[in-house]
């Protein structure tokens, strides 16, 4: 069974702390994504990576950075957590586009609910 595992389901941090959210996939996927989800706003893309050491900004990268040193692992880093980063964070992975150009199915983790006090 395919699996995307996020290291923590629930975290509580203080303003100014450095926060690491880890994500591991076991499907040998090229693409990995970090989204945040807030009520009424749906999922918003923070960063994505299409290969080891490669990364691209999504729609809301400010205040975040990412690391992808190994193909199976994609980390989201909050250098200095702020209260407006309290949210549900979702990691996903997908294979590359298919031969006909079809989009690879996204496989999501269970999510990490971060509260910044």
């Amino acid at each position: 069974d395919v699996k995307v595992t996020q290291s923590s389901r629930y975290l509580v941090k203080r303003t100014g702390e450095k926060v690491f959210l880890e994500c591991v996939q076991d499907m040998d996927h090229e693409n990995m994504f970090w989204y945040r989800q807030d009520p009424g706003l749906g999922l918003r893309l923070i960063y994505f990576s299409y290969d080891v050491k490669m990364k691209e900004k999504g729609d809301i990268p400010e205040g975040y950075s990412v690391s992808r040193e190994k193909k199976e692992r994609f980390s989201l880093i909050l250098e200095s957590a702020s209260t407006n980063q309290t949210s549900m964070y979702l990691c996903a992975s997908s294979s590359g586009p298919g031969l006909a150009g079809e989009v690879g199915e996204l496989f999501f983790g269970e999510g990490s609910r971060l509260t910044v006090l």
Partner: protein
């Protein structure tokens, strides 16, 4: 980037067919249309994907008209367990042979009642 517009919420009753329409006026030639389902406290889950006309799987059908500016997800005979948020996505290929950046909208919250 192609954006999508869906109804914020819908209500239905068990056993009924539910149709959720998504508008994507700026869809590009190479874009596929994908639908995801999300239950509370879980990540979204893939339902169906299509490019044109009609696609059907064991869970749902996807209808895409010739101009591809909209699509309709059809859920036959819904049950209480279909209560979830449904997202319509339009894939964007950023460069030839490259990856796809998928943008989620706010989704449609479907409530199925007994």
């Amino acid at each position: 980037l192609a954006k999508t517009t869906q109804p914020i919420s819908m209500d239905s009753y068990e056993g009924q067919e539910v149709n959720i329409t998504c508008s994507h006026n700026n869809i590009a030639t190479n874009d596929y249309i994908t639908w995801y389902q999300q239950f509370p406290s879980q990540g979204p889950r893939f339902i169906i994907q299509g490019y044109k006309t009609k696609v059907t799987n064991e869970v749902a059908s996807l209808f895409i008209p010739a101009d591809r500016k909209s699509s309709t997800l059809s859920l036959p005979r819904v049950s209480l367990s279909d209560t979830a948020v449904y997202y319509c996505l339009v894939g964007v290929r950023l460069f030839s042979g490259g990856y796809n950046k998928l943008i989620f909208g706010a989704g449609t919250r479907l409530a199925v009642h007994p």
